[in-house]
């Protein structure tokens, strides 16, 4: 098992390479193997140039990367990652997300705790909502979305979405509720799934040119707000506060 806490907790007095080999030694890894793993990880995390630099001289992003590397140097089957991208620059955060994805593909089970819901949406296969230390909902992204998607929303970009055309669509598909967004955009809302082929065929018959069709789904943040009852504004404030 590997654990990467939300704050980098390696030794300021040791350099990057020494920190990694020390962490491997804690798991009884022999000298040759731990040095080889440390070199591999420094390369993988783009820290090879900084391997001989003291940890205290690292930037925040580099510290996070080395802390994650230290958490996986003994090749754990399960890895706990706490807020891996909090407070670091965009490039480092992207790199860390890519590394997390790669680790997972190579067979490591990762428990990721994060306040960034988009991060969970992007990286996790199963998501649990935790409020006040209790799991209040758990499931795959699709399951959580499906549970809270009360209606299907289809957004179309139609060249010259005139009132006459919209009226015809409403008559042909009386179960759909139609909203006009702007000159070209319309939204069809239905409690049932919307069948695309008959709709597009009808529009084509009427001479309308559809340039884009997009299924509008609620974001995971919206689902979270619905499930937990926590206001979106409060969540954003918390996130802003954490960034600062």
């Amino acid at each position: 098992m590997g654990v990467v806490p939300d704050e980098s907790n390696l030794y300021d007095e040791l350099d990057g390479f020494e920190n990694l080999t020390f962490c491997a030694a804690l798991y009884g890894t022999d000298r040759r193997r731990r040095e080889q793993r440390a070199k591999e990880l420094l390369e993988q995390f783009s820290l090879a140039q900084a391997g001989k630099r003291l940890f205290k001289a690292y930037s925040k992003g580099m510290k996070r990367k080395l802390t994650i590397a230290a958490g996986i140097i003994h090749e754990p089957k399960i890895l706990f990652l706490d807020e891996p991208t909090t407070g670091i620059d965009v490039m480092s955060a992207r790199q860390i997300r890519a590394l997390i994805g790669e680790l997972n593909r190579l067979g490591t089970t990762i428990f990721l705790t994060t306040h960034y819901i988009e991060e969970a949406e992007r990286l996790c296969h199963r998501i649990a909502f935790i409020v006040n230390g209790k799991i209040i909902r758990i499931g795959s992204l699709e399951e959580l979305m499906r549970e809270h998607q009360r209606e299907t929303v289809l957004q179309l970009a139609v060249e010259a979405a005139e009132a006459e055309l919209l009226h015809a669509v409403q008559q042909r598909f009386p179960n759909y509720s139609i909203q006009t967004l702007d000159e070209h955009g319309i939204r069809l809302i239905s409690v049932e799934p919307i069948e695309l082929l008959p709709l597009l065929g009808f529009l084509s018959q009427k001479g309308a040119i559809v340039t884009e069709a997009k299924l509008i789904r609620p974001t995971l943040e919206e689902v979270f707000v619905r499930v937990t009852g926590i206001e979106s504004e409060r969540m954003s404030q918390e996130r802003e506060g954490k960034k600062k």
Partner: protein, 145 residues
């Protein structure tokens, strides 16, 4: 799992990051001198260095072992690196042995300083070194208790 590797590496890391720091080394050098000087100045009669030496060695070990031991764990708890040690698959008593081992080793190194100084001043050829070394190790081990 080979716990010896973990033990030696914790001990080595502690020596490097805490004990063998310039302030600690200078402390280890200055104190034995200070103790010897104090014994010498406070004595009413002329003191034999050989009589004074065991006291200075004992004090050097005591101050060497206790100077950093108390703070190493506090430092690591504050920087949260102690959690890393606690999560490692090693026995807690072995972990504590490795942490205290660094202090014992530093105390033993401190004991060498007054011995070296004395060796320049008086003849130590009649000293029973087995007893001295045994005593140093015993004092270093018990002074952390």
């Amino acid at each position: 799992m080979n716990t010896r590797i973990a033990f030696w590496n914790i001990l080595r890391k502690d020596m490097k990051t805490y004990y063998l720091k310039p302030p600690n080394i200078s402390w280890g050098l200055v104190f034995p001198f200070a103790w010897m000087l104090m014994f010498y100045l406070r004595s009413q009669t002329a003191l034999d260095i050989r009589e004074l030496l065991p006291r200075a060695v004992s004090m050097s070990i005591l101050f060497g072992t206790t100077s950093m031991l108390a703070v190493t764990i506090t430092f690591e708890r504050r920087s949260r690196s102690f959690e890393r040690l606690l999560l490692a698959p090693i026995d807690l008593s072995l972990l504590m042995l490795a942490k205290t081992g660094g202090a014992v080793l530093f105390g033993v190194l401190n004991a060498i300083v007054p011995l070296l100084v004395a060796a320049f001043v008086v003849d130590l050829s009649e000293v029973g070194w087995t007893t001295v070394i045994g005593s140093i190790l015993l004092i270093a081990a018990t002074s952390i208790l």
